[in-house]
């Protein structure tokens, strides 16, 4: 569950925010608007909007600054006086923000208010998410003291791990639940971004600061000379088809819809089983395979062993076998390494005199205990479970190890 919320969910939120945001920008640009309700209700908006926007901008900048520059922030926050001053400023801004969002929610609540009538369901969801974010933020600042300091060691490493595609939620999974909700809700707001009026954030018109006051758009090149003869006939088709009768139009539309529906059903009937067959993985059971008598393996040596896959297909031929490097560390201690390099899966070779594994593809080198000695591999060699059963060494068949991000 924690993995979902701190690893999968942030990516889902970000991908949706960027993907849907871009789609909406290019396909439905008309819907990009701040959707201001100032025209219909002005009085309470002043208190809500100004407090909220200024407060949240500064608070967000502070969050962002610390996350982007952890090292300088650590220096700044290292001093207790500075930490207290900054925290107090933060709480002040947070309360300012909270006041703003509460006012923004309140002005839309009264049943007869005009502001309520221009509020969509998504607006309510967004207001609640933002309201909770401000509320939990202020709560954390007040009761989980020196958030500015622990933020650096918990959320910041986690955010960085997300940014470099090496997600690691270890630093945040242990935090109190209340704090975690702040994080999750933060990504919820990011997720809501493309589905709500929040899109107006990315259209802050900074360009206005330097563009010329007047905007003139030409349909033709203003400096172009006159065309020699404007009487040339253009290639417009001679006649348009006669307009359809309204009833005919209706019938045509419903027939089109039925056609699409029926076609879709047929495609699903054929497509879903085919796809399911293609995607269905053969889940092979894991089996213990004998490798040989204990005494056939000298202590301290690494040798190649091979064994059959768990449930080989009749036509698999030579590919039904798997190889591994078996090392006898002590009288009853065995380690079996996968032959697949953790870089890109090429077979590593054991060099007995040098006591090294070497990969022929991109030059990865591993020590005899499987740890990375040099080259591109990101992880040590993967090991197989090994056991001794009545004087026979047995190995447990395992999937090909795949190094994932």
């Amino acid at each position: 569950m924690q993995t979902f919320f701190f690893v999968a969910f942030p990516y889902i939120a970000l991908i949706l925010a960027v993907g849907v945001g871009l789609y909406r920008y290019f396909a439905r640009r008309f819907t990009y608007s701040s959707l201001s309700s100032e025209l219909v209700e002005k009085k309470y908006l002043f208190w809500g909007s100004v407090s909220w926007h200024y407060g949240i901008t500064l608070i967000l900048l502070a969050h962002l600054l610390v996350a982007l520059l952890p090292a300088p922030s650590r220096l700044v926050l290292g001093n207790h006086t500075r930490l207290v001053v900054l925290e107090l400023t933060g709480i002040g801004l947070g309360l300012y923000c909270l006041f703003g969002i509460v006012a923004l929610i309140a002005r839309r609540l009264p049943n007869k208010s005009a502001a309520r009538s221009v509020t969509s369901p998504m607006d309510w969801i967004l207001l609640l998410a933002l309201g909770y974010q401000a509320f939990s933020g202020v709560g954390i600042a007040m009761f989980e003291r020196w958030g500015a300091a622990w933020y650096l060691n918990t959320a910041v490493p986690w955010l960085w791990s997300l940014a470099i595609l090496h997600p690691n939620a270890a630093t945040v999974t242990g935090l109190p639940f209340f704090i975690q909700t702040h994080f999750i809700n933060g990504f919820l707001v990011i997720l809501l971004f493309p589905f709500t009026r929040l899109v107006h954030v990315v259209s802050l018109p900074l360009e206005y600061l330097w563009r010329p006051y007047q905007v003139v758009i030409w349909n033709r090149d203003p400096r172009r000379k006159q065309l020699p003869c404007p009487c040339q006939a253009s290639a417009v088709p001679a006649s348009a088809p006669p307009p359809l009768e309204p009833t005919d139009e209706k019938r045509r539309r419903s027939l089109t819809r039925i056609g699409i529906l029926v076609g879709g059903i047929s495609a699903a009937i054929v497509g879903i089983p085919s796809l399911a067959f293609l995607l269905g993985l053969r889940k092979a059971p894991r089996e213990w395979r004998p490798l040989g008598a204990v005494d056939s393996f000298p202590v301290g040596q690494t040798v190649e062993v091979s064994f059959a896959d768990a449930s080989p297909l009749p036509w698999a031929g030579v590919t039904a076998k798997t190889a591994a490097w078996l090392r006898r560390d002590g009288p009853a201690q065995f380690t079996a390494f996968s032959i697949n390099c953790t870089h890109l899966g090429c077979p590593v070779r054991w060099l007995p005199t040098a006591n090294l594994f070497m990969c022929p593809c991109h030059g990865g080198v591993f020590y005899k205990d499987g740890t990375v000695a040099s080259g591109p591999p990101p992880k040590p060699l993967v090991t197989y479970p090994v056991r001794l059963n009545k004087g026979i060494v047995e190995i447990l068949t395992s999937p090909v190890p795949i190094t994932t991000v």
Partner: protein, 479 residues
């Protein structure tokens, strides 16, 4: 003769071939004077593709789609002369197709032919380029010798880098927990049915669009494309100086296509198909997987980039490449077409070519690969046959130093050349390096006995460049 003519008239009457195909064949195309020979790559790619279709069908009639038997069926094909030639044509046809589609893409990009209204031509072409690369990859795998087998594993590992679903995706590609019986069928189906179906679809749209939008005229600096006026202008251009495609422009396509086919055939006969390696037995660990030449540069890339960028390159590299292909016509759909007014396009193509060529050369050299086949240093290099220096040379070989370090022309080239180690380093410095290791070198702490170390140091210290006697300094008589 008369009967044939009558038959044709009857056939034409009931099918309307000349009415439908005639105008297509003779549709006007712009006259391209200096650059007319640059317009042949697209049709030549098509020719190469047709070669692949024909030879592919022929090969599939004997190929056995089974992890255990594919290798033997290929051996059978190879055992017949015609089979060898057909395999050769299929191999060199693939190479030709890759080269030609690359040239075609570069030509279209440089000439700005993807601009309005031909954006969709470009996008379908980009799809075809991707599918061609996929075909090359899966095709190499179907050879199902040792290299083919490991290619499947490497493919699964690369797909495995995708966050979250990587593990599942990798095993999906292998069709199971390990590369085994079910793996090959999957790639066979993709190579023979799925991707070709996509290619045929995209190809139809691509050709339709070429007819619909017309062949782009040669670009001219200072004549930008304006979507508002382009079509009308293009039609007036065709009216005033267009030439019928058949036969005035088509003959060049035919001529060049024939040369391509002849070249493919000659190479297939003279050079023959790529030899099969060892059987795809996963227990033969002395395999040394290498991609075919068209992916050699990518192979090198994955070794040479910094470690921490690897995930980004594997994941985002293809994504950005695809995004670039998609964005090119969308963002640059209008304006100047001539490369003379688009210096960035020249720079981009030049850098892509330089980068790929560089990595390609590096991939062939593979300096990062240990030279596991290096023989022990001969006495002529060591200089002595006994004593600490000779012992040290043996240690140098046994402990694997030689796989990565060159001494007088023997050994690998991953680490520094040690032919003159004695000139550069003191024994103490050498010992430090041997013990501490580095990013690219394992640490030998605990691996060497006292004697081994001292003899190794003795050997390395004895490595000097040949001392060239210095010319005597002539004293000039003073004035």
């Amino acid at each position: 003769m008369r009967i044939l003519k009558q038959l044709w008239h009857w056939l034409d009457d009931i099918t309307g071939i000349s009415k439908s195909l005639g105008p297509i064949l003779t549709h006007p195309v712009p006259r391209a004077r200096k650059t007319r020979w640059l317009y042949v790559f697209g049709s030549a790619t098509l020719a190469a593709f047709l070669v692949q279709v024909v030879t592919g069908i022929a090969l599939s009639s004997a190929y056995v789609t089974s992890s255990g038997q594919a290798y033997h069926s290929l051996q059978f094909i190879n055992s017949t002369t015609i089979g060898r030639i057909v395999r050769g044509i299929h191999y060199f046809g693939a190479s030709a197709m890759i080269i030609l589609i690359g040239l075609h893409t570069i030509r279209v990009y440089l000439m700005g032919s993807y601009k309005y209204p031909r954006q969709m031509n470009w996008l379908t072409g980009a799809g075809l380029l991707m599918f061609t690369l996929l075909m090359a990859f899966t095709g190499q795998l179907l050879r199902w010798d040792q290299i083919g087998f490991w290619t499947a594993v490497v493919a699964a590992e690369q797909a495995g880098r995708v966050p979250l679903i990587g593990n599942w995706l990798g095993h999906f590609i292998l069709a199971g927990n390990t590369a085994g019986g079910a793996t090959l069928s999957r790639f066979f189906s993709a190579h023979v049915f799925f991707i070709p179906a996509l290619i045929f679809t995209f190809l139809s749209v691509h050709l339709y669009l070429v007819l619909f939008n017309g062949i782009s005229e040669p670009p001219k600096a200072g004549r930008p494309v304006d979507p508002r006026t382009y079509r009308r202008w293009y039609h007036s251009l065709l009216e005033s100086e267009g030439i019928p495609f058949w036969p005035y422009a088509a003959w060049r396509d035919l001529f060049f296509g024939t040369i391509v086919v002849l070249a493919i055939f000659t190479l297939a006969v003279v050079a023959g198909p790529p030899e099969l390696g060892k059987p795809p037995d996963p227990t033969i660990v002395s395999a040394s997987p290498r991609p075919d030449w068209y992916f050699m540069w990518y192979f090198a890339l994955l070794s040479l980039i910094p470690k921490w960028t690897e995930n980004w390159v594997i994941l985002l590299g293809p994504l950005f490449f695809g995004l670039f292909l998609i964005l090119v016509p969308i963002l640059g759909g209008r304006g100047e077409r001539s490369p003379l007014r688009r210096p960035w396009s020249i720079l981009i193509i030049a850098s892509v070519i330089v980068i790929i060529a560089h990595y390609w050369a590096e991939g062939i050299r593979a300096p990062w690969s240990p030279r596991l086949e290096s023989p022990p240093l001969p006495a002529s290099v060591v200089g002595v046959t006994s004593g600490p220096v000779a012992d040290g040379a043996r240690v140098f070989y046994e402990k694997g130093c030689e796989y990565c370090h060159t001494v007088s022309g023997y050994g690998g080239i991953r680490g520094p050349n040690l032919s003159d180690a004695g000139d550069r380093l003191t024994p103490a410095q050498m010992a430090t390096r041997i013990f501490s290791g580095a990013e690219n070198m394992p640490s030998y702490r605990g691996e060497l006995t006292e004697e081994q170390l001292s003899s190794l140091l003795a050997f390395l210290s004895s490595r000097h460049l040949l001392q060239v006697p210095k010319p005597p300094v002539l004293k000039t008589p003073g004035k």
